[in-house]
């Protein structure tokens, strides 16, 4: 069941993004930024945690889940150390994904060759 929900929920979140591409003139950068901020808002409203519990990676892998991770991290850090947590919690929780993206990008630049986008 885990896998089915991961597939269906993840797929539907992507369909919403596709509708934004097809029916608005939003660029990919704006859509990704919107998804992360949307994830923070959904998480703050308490709506995203139930979806992660249901769908696992189906909810945490789309960028909405990245926003949820930031919001959850800030919340936990504020619980632990009060106000300074609003600065430390978000990026601490998201650090693995950000660091991995940057490191693998630098490695890719070392070994990769530029090619036509077709």
């Amino acid at each position: 069941m885990n896998y089915l929900w991961a597939f269906v929920v993840g797929g539907l979140i992507c369909v919403v993004g596709q509708l934004l591409i097809d029916y608005t003139s939003l660029s990919p950068a704006r859509i990704l930024t919107g998804y992360v901020v949307g994830g923070v808002i959904l998480s703050a409203a308490g709506l995203y945690k139930p979806l992660v519990d249901l769908a696992g990676a189906g909810a945490s892998v789309p960028l909405l889940g990245f926003g949820h991770l930031l919001a959850q991290g800030v919340r936990q850090a504020v619980d632990q150390c009060g106000l300074p947590g609003i600065f430390t919690g978000g990026l601490t929780a998201a650090s693995g994904g950000i660091a991995a993206s940057l490191l693998f990008a630098l490695l890719a630049a070392l070994v990769g060759k530029s090619r036509d986008q077709n």
């Binding site: 597939f7 269906v8 992507c14 369909v15 990919p28 994830g39 923070v40 990676a57 892998v61 940057l102």
Partner: protein
């Protein structure tokens, strides 16, 4: 043959192929869902050894590594041409947006080329995501003080 605009629109819709939007959405659904399915497989694997939080982080790192490899080989871009948001919205799309310019702008040097351009999309994503989460943290902290 005289047609009013409504009849003409009806004829056009019957003669044209099924909406590209429907086809785009099917691609986005199956490819995006498929990437999440791979993610769930990785997550269940990591859950054998680690707690949910670390397993989630390792899942992201695993998908980012796969995306970096596919992007370096030029395969991710080919899939993205068909799958649209299906390859954009998952964390693999974020990774692609970092890795792709890293390769592309090597010619402009390692600092102002690679080092700067990898943040073209990741920069706004991280900046506004962090700002939104800090704002929420402030509200949450105030709520704790008042309530």
């Amino acid at each position: 043959m005289k047609l009013n605009p409504k009849e003409y629109a009806h004829m056009v819709s019957r003669a044209s192929p099924p909406s590209p939007a429907v086809r785009d959405c099917l691609w986005a659904f199956f490819v995006g869902g498929g990437i999440c399915l791979v993610g769930e497989g990785l997550r269940q694997f990591f859950l054998y050894w680690y707690d949910a939080s670390l397993a989630g982080t390792l899942t992201s790192i695993g998908l980012i590594l796969l995306s970096a490899i596919f992007t370096t080989l030029g395969w991710y871009q080919k899939l993205a041409a068909k799958a649209g948001a299906g390859t954009l919205v998952p964390i693999t799309g974020f990774a692609n947006s970092v890795v792709s310019p890293a390769i592309e702008f090597k010619a402009e040097g390692w600092v102002t080329g690679v080092g700067a351009k990898i943040f073209g999309i990741a920069g706004p994503v991280i900046a506004y995501g962090t700002a939104a989460s800090a704002l929420w943290g402030l509200l949450y902290w105030l709520q704790g003080k008042v309530g």
